[in-house]
């Protein structure tokens, strides 16, 4: 097992700078998810750690060792690909044992290790099959088995669940989580699905346009997003943003929306300076309320989407369409004006 450290890592493809001087330390045994929108550089970063892509500048350390000049094999990493990348002409057993065979391990040892890994992943009955005879979930497990059997220092996952249907994805997510609890090897997991990242990882790295936006535990990212990008990226449904004007005195802040509505909150140490700001409110923090006060806003209901356990409402607030998750299942009518109350601690203020 080993930690991973990236120092001033940059990568350019021609004139396009994909990664911009990244610094990141991943502890030994930690499960870190790299999340970001398509094209943010997360897969490139993973490939650089794997040794499949060469960095333009910067240093990569695995287990304290400088590995920039080492081949993927010498780095002792294992990777699970989005497309599974199983060798189609080999059986499951041969796929899992391929690396061991190359490493010159004896046949009985290979068989024993493959068998042991297959038992962990419930693949024993599939060992003689070819990848084409397996379902998506089974292929995924074989891909993980192929990585696991090598006993690597670091596991790299490149969007491993994105080819699976929603139900299987949830199931495989649980299996990966269980696997990590059992095999506490350092894992770096790339995904564009924030739910996957939040549920699996000890820490999440949010990337955008080749720059790390924030690194933190799922709770930290949800509760204290560093900027509007992180706030909008984390959470489902996404956070609502309204342009507003902030004025503060010694102890309190006054947030005035574009339609003149006003919210009042305690002044925070790290809030943006007075002037134009973006006010962020999570849909699940907006509650329907009978009374209007300084912690509530009035809006018109434009759309109601019942999901069973909760209703998703589209409400126009200060001229902008916002989402409200109503767990109380209150009966509301289209076009009805409602009061939406929010705890001042759940207001997020970002510079514009």
């Amino acid at each position: 097992m080993a930690g991973v450290e990236l120092l001033n890592l940059s990568k350019s493809f021609g004139s396009v700078e994909v990664l911009k001087s990244l610094n990141l330390t991943i502890q030994d045994g930690e499960f870190v998810a790299l999340v970001g929108p398509s094209g943010c550089g997360k897969s490139t970063l993973l490939r650089i750690i794997a040794g499949l892509e060469e960095e333009t500048a910067g240093e990569v350390y695995i287990g304290g060792e400088y590995v920039n000049d080492l081949s993927p094999k010498e780095r002792n990493i294992a990777m699970v690909f989005q497309s599974y990348a199983l060798y189609p002409h080999m059986s499951v057993e041969e796929n899992m044992g391929f690396n061991l065979r190359i490493s010159g391990i004896s046949k009985p040892d290979i068989k024993a290790r493959v068998q042991e890994t297959a038992e962990i992943l419930d693949l024993v009955h599939l060992l003689d099959r070819k990848p084409s005879q397996l379902s998506g979930g089974q292929r995924q497990r074989v891909a993980m088995g192929r990585a696991l059997v090598r006993n690597p220092d670091v596991f790299l996952f490149d969007e491993p669940l994105s080819n699976l249907d929603a139900k299987l994805r949830v199931q495989m997510r649980e299996e990966i989580k269980r696997l990590h609890q059992r095999v506490r090897t350092t894992k770096i997991y790339v995904t564009h699905d924030q739910i996957e990242a939040m549920t699996l990882a000890d820490r999440v790295v949010i990337l955008n346009q080749g720059i790390i936006q924030q690194v933190g535990t799922p709770r930290e990212l949800y509760q204290n997003p560093a900027n509007a990008f992180v706030a909008g990226f984390i959470g489902s449904p996404a956070m609502n943003f309204l342009p507003a004007t902030l004025t503060s005195d010694g102890t309190s802040s006054r947030i005035e929306l574009e339609d003149g509505s006003i919210l009042v909150a305690d002044k925070r140490a790290n809030q943006p300076s007075d002037g134009k700001i973006l006010l962020g409110m999570r849909p699940e923090h907006l509650h329907l309320s009978a009374e209007k006060d300084e912690h509530s806003l009035k809006g018109r209901v434009d759309l109601i989407e019942p999901t069973g356990a909760q209703n998703h409402l589209r409400v126009t607030l200060a001229g902008k369409s916002t989402t409200v998750v109503d767990n109380s299942l209150t009966e509301v009518e289209l076009g009805e004006f409602v009061n939406l109350k929010i705890d001042p601690d759940n207001l997020h203020l970002f510079s514009q």
Binding site: L52, M79, I102, R146
Partner: protein
């Protein structure tokens, strides 16, 4: 009547196919029949369209006028070695174009593809001079070596690799610790069998039927290949056409065997990518 009308397209299609098959196999059957007749029977009018009784006689005459089995062996050797070497080197070149990024890759590939447009006859003199320079004149290598890495073969296999092999597989092999050659040999080659079979059969036929190159580079009769040897019989006085036809028919048999051997893979190669899989 209505049922007949409904089946008419199918009947027409079958009729068309049967006629096409007959036209295709007619020369082969005709050659086989002529191989069992004497010269005078062949030139009688109307010519005999049935199997005759001079098979053994023709066979003895064939061995009399040419060392048939030696020449057949030469042709087999040239075709088998040439096919194996061509398939190996073309696939290695194709792998280079597929798997690696290097400066000028597209230019080199473009020039290579463009070279297919040059009529082969134009290159005959340079070809002869090169073979002479290499000291390969009057050797079998002069027939198969120039084809060892040909543009058509490289292009065919490279295109197949592009459509059928995911780059993730190469990365997975790299992460697994496979060397470049091992990746090519263990991962890539088994996945391009249909393309290899297609190239194999095309190369085998080209080498087997090759007349022009052996004519230019081979001068010793003991190194003749079938095409040269059969052609040389035309200068024999009173050419024994029955024996020549028998020799021609026997020379087709290895091709039929090779086709039967490769045809399944070849069909897969020709139709690969035609349907979404």
């Amino acid at each position: 009547m209505k049922a007949l009308m409904k089946r008419l397209p199918k009947i027409s299609m079958h009729a068309f196919l049967i006629v096409s098959v007959l036209i295709t196999i007619f020369p082969f059957v005709w050659v086989a029949m002529m191989g069992t007749h004497s010269r005078s029977e062949i030139f009688s009018s109307p010519p005999p369209f049935y199997f005759g009784s001079r098979l053994l006689e023709n066979y003895e005459k064939l061995l009399d006028i040419m060392p048939f089995w030696l020449v057949l062996g030469n042709s087999l050797m040239v075709s088998i070695i040439g096919t194996a070497v061509t398939v190996l080197f073309c696939s290695m070149c194709a792998y280079g174009f597929f798997a690696y990024e290097f400066r000028g890759k597209n230019v080199v590939f473009g020039v290579m593809v463009a070279s297919m447009m040059v009529p082969p006859v134009l290159t005959l003199i340079p070809f002869f001079l090169t073979v002479k320079f290499l000291g390969l004149l009057d050797t079998h290598a002069a027939i198969w070596l120039p084809l060892a890495a040909n543009a058509m073969g490289i292009f065919l296999i490279r295109q197949y690799m592009v459509t059928s092999i995911s780059r993730d597989l190469l990365d997975a092999a790299k992460v697994d610790g496979a060397s470049d050659f091992r990746t090519y040999w263990t991962v890539v080659l088994p996945l391009i069998k249909p393309a290899l079979a297609t190239l194999g059969i095309v190369t085998f036929i080209a080498l087997w039927n090759n007349f022009l190159l052996p004519l230019i580079v081979i001068s010793s009769p003991d190194k003749y290949v079938l095409t040269l040897a059969l052609r040389s019989l035309q200068s024999v006085a009173n050419t024994p056409w029955g024996a020549v036809m028998l020799g021609t028919f026997l020379s087709m048999i290895p091709l039929l065997v090779a086709f039967l051997f490769f045809s399944k893979q070849m069909m897969a190669g020709l139709t690969a990518g035609a349907v979404k899989g």
